[in-house]
Structures are given as C-alpha cells and as structure tokens.
C-alpha cells in the first residue's frame, strides 16, 4: 500500500474516534451489579457492555448510512443518534422498573442537588444504599456519553471502509477498537460512575492519555493490515 497524506488522515480519524469512545464512557451512568439491586445510582450493568451496546447500535446505523451515501457528517450524526436512541430507551425502561416495580424515588448520592433540575437528593437516598434510579442529570449525561460513543464508533468505521472497502471486516475492527477504549476507560472509573457530576469524572484525562496511546497503535495496525486481509 502507499503511505500518503490520506493514510495519516485515516489514522487521525481512528484516533479521534477512539478518544471519543474513551471519554464518552465517563459520561454513561453505570452502577454495575449494585444498581440492579437498586443499591446504587445509574444503570444496572457494566460500563463496557453498555457503552458497547449503544456504540455498536450507532455503528449499525452508520454502516447502513455509509452504504448509501458518502456524506461524512450524515454518517457520523446518524451513528451518534442511533447510540442515543438505544441508551435512552434502555434508561427509560429501567426508570419504569425503578419507579413502578421497586417503588424507589430516583436519587444520586454524589451530589446534594441535581445540577440540572435543582432537586434535593440526600432525603431520597434509601438507608444502606448509595442512591437508586436514574435522576435527570444522569439521564442527560448518559445521552451525551452515548452520542460520543456512537460518533466515535462511526469515526473509526468510516476510514476503515475507505481503506479496504469491506464493511464486515471494518465493522469487526471497529468493534475491537471500541472495546479496547471502553475497557481502558472502565478501569479508570473503577467500574461505576454516575455521570459528569460524579467526582470520578475528573479523572478523564488519565483515560484520554491511555486511549491515545492504545488507539494510535491500533490505528497503525488497522491501516496497515486491513488491505492485506481484505483481498
């Protein structure tokens, strides 16, 4: 293959996509297993799994859009919107169960007042728990995180298809790079976070740096290897 200015642009696009995924994971309110027992605020599953679920739904939308148009902005935007729809539907259905089955009011244990609605939080935190449900600030934060994840996934996928013209292989590579960045970010937040209002969010520069290094290596490998494998 020829190593020209386009190759460098592709590598940069993949790196930016990976960074968006890495930082976007910090926005997604994941409470892990305790949240499934209404013992912690956020969505009751693992960071990587949720980020992957939403980001890859965005990747499906972006893949469909890219098969019919070359408009980069439409592809990126549709990836972001697909991911946002997935995570919002998930959080909304989760809220129905918190509100109407467990019967618990939503509360965050990390702040005294919701930064968006201004609602007081500590009086609504059940004894022996660290909050429950998905308050508005977490929901908005999760939507932003999913948008970044979907955007990142589409941004990784776009240059890969440009290079090898094979959507299936590009999707698998994009999924792989997505998982690497999501796992690195997950280690940074030690598995759970409530969103951008959580004190742990301030640690995002660490994930930014590690994702930069990891994605740079992966981007070079992806750009070099895919044309050979694509034959």
């Amino acid at each position: 293959m020829t190593f020209d200015i386009n190759t460098i642009i592709y590598i940069l696009e993949i790196i930016v996509g990976g960074l968006l995924v890495g930082v976007g994971v910090h926005f997604v309110p994941v409470g892990g297993a305790p949240a499934a027992m209404a013992q912690a605020t956020g969505i009751g599953t693992g960071t990587v799994q949720l980020a992957a679920g939403s980001g890859l739904t965005g990747l499906l939308s972006a893949g469909l859009m890219m098969s019919v148009t070359d408009n980069l902005w439409a592809i990126l935007a549709t990836g972001a919107v697909g991911a946002m729809i997935m995570i919002d539907a998930t959080m909304l259905a989760g809220s129905w169960i918190y509100a109407y089955a467990v019967g618990a009011p939503f509360a965050s244990a990390k702040v005294n007042y919701d930064p968006i609605t201004g609602f007081s939080q500590p009086p609504y935190v059940a004894p022996g728990t660290v909050g429950q449900g998905i308050p508005t600030v977490c929901f908005v934060s999760g939507t932003i995180g999913a948008a970044m994840g979907g955007l990142g996934g589409a941004m990784i996928y776009y240059p890969l298809v440009q290079i090898n013209g094979n959507p299936a292989m590009s999707a698998i590579f994009a999924i792989g790079i997505f998982f690497v960045d999501a796992v690195l970010a997950s280690w940074n937040i030690q598995g759970t976070i409530e969103g951008f209002h959580d004190p742990k969010f301030k640690k995002w520069p660490n994930a930014f740096k590690s994702c930069l290094v990891a994605t740079a290596i992966l981007a070079v490998v992806a750009v070099l290897i895919t044309p050979i494998g694509g034959i």
């Binding site: 499934a36 009751g44 799994q49 679920g53 919002d88 009011p105 059940a126 728990t129």
Partner: protein, 301 residues
C-alpha cells in the same frame, strides 16, 4: 417510503420486543448477570437454595455468542446451500440453544459444586426441568434476532452492508446490555428481596439474604420467571423493540440519501422526548413516594 418497508420495520420491532422479553426471562431463570451475585452469595452467608445458578458470562457477551452462533449457521445454510431463510434461521437458533444447554448445565454443576463447603446441594430435578426452559428462551431470542438480521440484510431496502453474523453479534450485545440494565432490576431489586420494606433499594446489610420460599413450597427459578414475566420481561422487550423500531423507522420513512437531515432530526426528536419522559417519571416517583422517613440530614426534601 413504501408500505412493504414499513411493514418490515414493524415486524422487526415486534420481533425485537419478543427477543428482549425472552432474553430477560432466560437470564432470570438462570440467575445470570447482576442478580447472580446475590444467588452466589446466598449459600456463602448460610442460605443454601434451589435457584438455578448459571453465569456463563455477562449477558451481553453470552447473548452475542448465541445470536452469532445462530446467525453463522443460518448464513452458511443460506449462502452455501441456498436453504429457505426461515428454515435456516430456525436451524441456527436450534444450534444456539444446544450450545446454551451444554454451557448452562456445566455452569450450574460447576458453581453449585464449588459451594459444597457451604452446604449447597446440586439438585438434579432442577437441572432436568429448568435447563430446557433456559434453552427454549435462548431459542426464541436467537431466532428473533437472527430473523431481524436476515430482514435487514436480504429484504429491507436499503440492504444492510454487514453480513448477518456481524449484525447478530451487535444486536446480541445490545439485547444483552438492555436485559442486563432493565429486566435485572425487576429480578434483583424486587423479586430476590421481597420481604424487605417496599420502596427502597437493597440495604447493603441484607446482601445474600434472598427469598428462598415460594408462594407454595420452596422457590425455584421457574417461580422467578413467572414473576418477572409480568413486568421486567415486557419492559426489556419494549426497550429493545423501541431501539430497533425507532432506529430503523427513521431511515425507512425518510430516504437516507436525499433526506438524511430529516432522519437525523427525527432521531434527535425521539431522544428529547425520552429525556422529558424520564424527567416525568422522576418527578412522579418523588411526589408519590416522598423522602425516606428516617432521614436526619439538614437538606430539605
């Protein structure tokens, strides 16, 4: 937009709803994913039980495995042997269910045997009549998701560029992530701890104290499926159905080539509506339930 395409998108939404519900009930029967931590802990804190205990992997990876297995077999039958689509998908789902049966059984034996020192028994009757239920639900999930992938790739226009195993992988991951985030709350937050005060999350002190008695006799995993099929399963189905339907509806109603902006704007509209709906749920829960009576802090409710 054509009526046939809209019908297909509606069918995909319906299939996704069924897939989501069966995925959640499968995980409830097997105590997979998040609530498994409590089932695992129960024996260790002196509560041996008759609940099926399988945690093959997190829900998203394990469902991605079943759906991809089904989709690969369907792909081979369709592309290599030119089999009818429905037959190929049904055959693929059967293979996925068999794989799941093997792994569920070994997971139950392994997990229960490792807790022998805590007086946890291996119940062969549980294995005999619970494993087929789990396999049946996995069959439904992988059949529906594989069929969604087949519709997206072979029937719906524009055809999706990914092959069906990749779409099966992505939808499998997504349905697992949704089942783990939505349905698990109903099982873990409500069904496992029904004797604590209603209206609060699980107090950390009560970890592992799961309910072991059923409406009649000792509780087993089929009792849990009966309970969770009333609300947790349908909610999971709705969430996955909404994801599949809304995401595909906007690119079917609006032409993705000439009306890409409208398709994206419609997606953003759905997102805003869901944000507002969640805010409504929060306000209504706070108003109905109020603050906890024992709160002694100085921040007013």
């Amino acid at each position: 937009m054509d009526a046939f395409g809209m019908g297909l998108v509606a069918a995909m939404g319906a299939l996704a709803t069924v897939a989501g519900a069966s995925e959640d009930i499968d995980s409830d029967i097997g105590s997979q994913s998040n609530p498994n931590s409590q089932v695992q802990l129960a024996a260790q804190v002196g509560n041996p039980h008759r609940i099926y205990n399988k945690a093959i992997a997190g829900e998203p990876p394990s469902n991605a495995l079943w759906c991809t297995t089904a989709a690969i077999m369907a792909y081979v039958l369709i592309e290599g042997y030119h089999m009818p689509l429905l037959f190929a998908v049904a055959a693929g789902a059967s293979l996925a269910a068999l794989f799941d049966g093997v792994m569920s059984t070994s997971a139950y034996f392994g997990r229960s045997a490792s807790q022998a020192r805590f007086n946890q028994w291996i119940y062969l009757d549980i294995v005999r009549y619970t494993t087929p239920s789990i396999m049946a639900h996995v069959w439904i999930t992988s059949f529906c998701i594989c069929l969604i992938a087949v519709i997206q790739v072979y029937i719906l226009t524009p055809h999706h560029p990914f092959p069906i195993p990749v779409i099966g992988l992505v939808w499998g991951l997504t349905v697992g992530a949704i089942g783990s985030s939505v349905g698990d709350i109903h099982y873990g937050g409500e069904r496992e701890f029904q004797w604590r005060l209603f209206g609060q999350g699980l107090n950390t002190m009560l970890s592992g104290q799961i309910v072991r008695k059923a409406e009649a006799g000792l509780r087993n995993s089929i009792d849990n499926a009966w309970f969770c099929a009333k609300f947790g399963g349908p909610c999971t189905g709705l969430a996955f159905g909404l994801t599949v339907f809304l995401d595909n509806w906007r690119t079917t109603v609006f032409d993705p080539v000439t009306q890409a902006g409208a398709a994206i704007a419609m997606g953003l509209f759905f997102v805003i509506v869901m944000n507002l709906y969640n805010h409504y749920c929060e306000v209504s829960a706070r108003r109905k339930y109020g603050p906890y009576p024992g709160y002694k802090g100085d921040i007013p409710a």
